[in-house]
């Protein structure tokens, strides 16, 4: 982090520090959000390959943003404060994804394969929906929308940092309170119920936390598909236990190292030549295939 703040800093510190500090905070928030959302999701689904992103939940968020522009128009949107809009989007996101989660996981017990397939189809569906709406949009509005959507690790939406931080703190507090229950959830639904967990309530609460975290990371840097999977599986390997007391911080830490470290190298060494997301997605995708392959062989 120090390296990120200092290397190659020429010029006025009054500019460098807030500028890079904001970016750094953004990266840390994203790292936390993606890592936590993934670990929680994998605990609930009892599966080490599924992540919210693979299941298309960040596409849902993008579709939501597009729909908002589509139906309200940028002029109306511009009058609303950006932070307010973010919160509004988040509430919508939580409501929608809870409905989806509920339908997929809780209303009936479905086979995992079906759930994965449905997730992938939903992902494509939401993406196509966004594309379709973007095609029909007025060109001016489309540009405004693109501006919203094309966040990347380089251009973090700094305006949203304060709101995101608050939101992240709240979810962190919530997941801390649920820490012991999370371990029990790993034993599977029946055992968890037997041990006195109010399964439905706890799982819905966790889904809400996940939806919020996905919104935060997508709003800040746009969709990232395999990053969560990558850091989560690295974390499980690193701590050799499955207790959430250890896996959650480990995943977050690895995510921070990967993002901040990667961004530093990218900016200072390669001089912005490549996008960090490309590299992360590439390694994450490889990890995904490796995990699939290993699971098939078992």
């Amino acid at each position: 982090m120090m390296a990120f703040m200092t290397i190659g800093a020429k010029g006025n510190w009054d500019f460098v520090l807030p500028f890079r500090g904001g970016k750094l905070l953004g990266l840390v928030l994203v790292a936390y959000a993606v890592a936590t959302a993934t670990v929680l999701f994998q605990t609930i689904t009892q599966n080490r390959i599924l992540t919210p992103a693979v299941m298309g939940f960040d596409s849902l968020y993008v579709a939501l943003q597009t729909a908002l522009v589509f139906f309200l128009g940028t002029r109306d949107l511009a009058t609303i404060d950006m932070r307010l809009r973010f919160v509004l989007e988040m509430v919508l996101m939580v409501a929608l994804s809870m409905a989806l989660f509920y339908w997929l996981f809780l209303s009936r017990r479905r086979s995992l394969h079906l759930v994965v397939l449905a997730g992938l189809v939903f992902g494509v569906f939401f993406r196509s929906l966004s594309h379709m709406m973007q095609r029909i949009l007025d060109p001016n509005e489309f540009i405004a929308l693109q501006d919203m959507l094309f966040a990347s690790f380089n251009t973090i939406d700094t305006q949203l940092l304060a709101v995101s931080s608050v939101v992240v703190l709240v979810t962190a507090w919530l997941s801390r309170r649920l820490l012991a229950k999370l371990d029990v959830l790993m034993l599977g639904r029946d055992t968890a119920v037997n041990l006195g967990i109010d399964y439905q309530r706890v799982v819905m609460m966790l889904f809400a936390v996940i939806a919020v975290l996905v919104s935060v990371s997508t709003a800040l840097v746009g969709p990232v598909t395999f990053f969560g999977l990558l850091v989560a599986s690295l974390a499980y390997q690193a701590v050799a236990t499955d207790r959430h007391k250890y896996t959650l911080p480990a995943a977050t830490l690895i995510a921070i190292i990967a993002l901040v470290g990667g961004q530093t190298v990218m900016e200072r060494v390669f001089g912005f030549d490549t996008a960090l997301s490309v590299i992360i997605e590439f390694t994450g995708g490889l990890a995904f295939m490796l995990l699939l392959y290993r699971n098939l062989n078992r």
């Binding site: 599977g188 055992t191 037997n194 041990l195 109010d198 236990t241």
Partner: protein
């Protein structure tokens, strides 16, 4: 006492458990027997609130299992289903310690540790304490799960086919252990069991089911009648007395 009132579970139109009313005693071993698809496991799952019934109620010491908070019930009633798969890598000790969760809420006390130690000793798992579950044989894993349920220290214990994947020696040992647990710790243990002879020898109370209905509620002697067994299983079972126990010979 567990009271079951007019309990029914339907999937689509087919009733898996059809208007069952039963009373299970405060202590001793109750065996639920019956052919495949008789609704035994479904009944057990509904008793332990794992499955919501289509209609009817289950009361555990007067508490409605659908309405009572899960944490309260978890101190009174424990269930172990068959085919327990755990998504995480756990040692035997850690698994058994999870049985204390309803009491400790994740912060084990000295008292909790004592219960865990006792349960592990009770099932003869001392040597395997630090082994991971995926390193154990099917029978050892089964015993570890039973230890977890015993560590939960509930008055009512429901076991769904606890003899699955146990060999002759361990199956008999498990039944003796359940007998001892029921007697020494005055618990009420309900087991779904396939082997009618184990039911005949070890159970105080027998419930026989077929096609979602209760065919018989009574003692082991009532079950071990050739006509009764024919009605339940639709196959000829000869009953012979050996050393004072009535045994069914379904191999002939």
């Amino acid at each position: 006492m567990i009271e079951i009132h007019n309990l029914t579970k339907r999937y689509e139109e087919a009733a898996v458990v059809d208007n069952v009313s039963l009373t299970l005693p405060e202590s001793g071993i109750t065996a639920i027997v019956g052919p495949n698809g008789a609704g035994k496991s479904t009944l057990l799952s509904m008793m332990a609130r794992l499955i919501a019934p289509t209609s009817g109620r289950v009361l555990v010491d007067g508490l409605d299992v659908q309405a009572t908070p899960g944490a309260v019930l978890a101190k009174r009633l424990a269930i172990l289903k068959q085919n327990n798969q755990v998504g995480m890598r756990l040692t035997v000790n850690e698994l058994v310690a999870f049985g204390r969760f309803p009491h400790s809420g994740g912060r084990p006390t000295v008292e909790d540790k004592r219960h865990v130690d006792e349960a592990i000793a009770y099932l003869g798992l001392d040597d395997l304490r630090t082994r991971f579950l995926d390193e154990l044989s099917g029978g050892q894993r089964q015993r570890a799960f039973v230890a977890m349920v015993l560590a939960q220290d509930t008055k009512y214990v429901l076991l769904d086919e606890p003899l699955n994947s146990l060999d002759m020696k361990h199956a008999a040992a498990m039944m003796k252990l359940l007998r001892r647990t029921a007697d020494e710790l005055t618990k009420s243990i309900t087991v779904v069991i396939h082997d009618i002879n184990f039911a005949s020898i070890y159970a105080d109370h027998v419930v026989a089911m077929r096609d979602g209905r209760v065919m018989l509620e009574g003692g082991a002697v009532d079950l071990m009648q050739e006509t009764m067994l024919k009605d339940i299983y639709d196959t000829v079972v000869k009953v012979r007395e050996v050393d004072g126990h009535r045994l069914g010979l379904h191999y002939l």
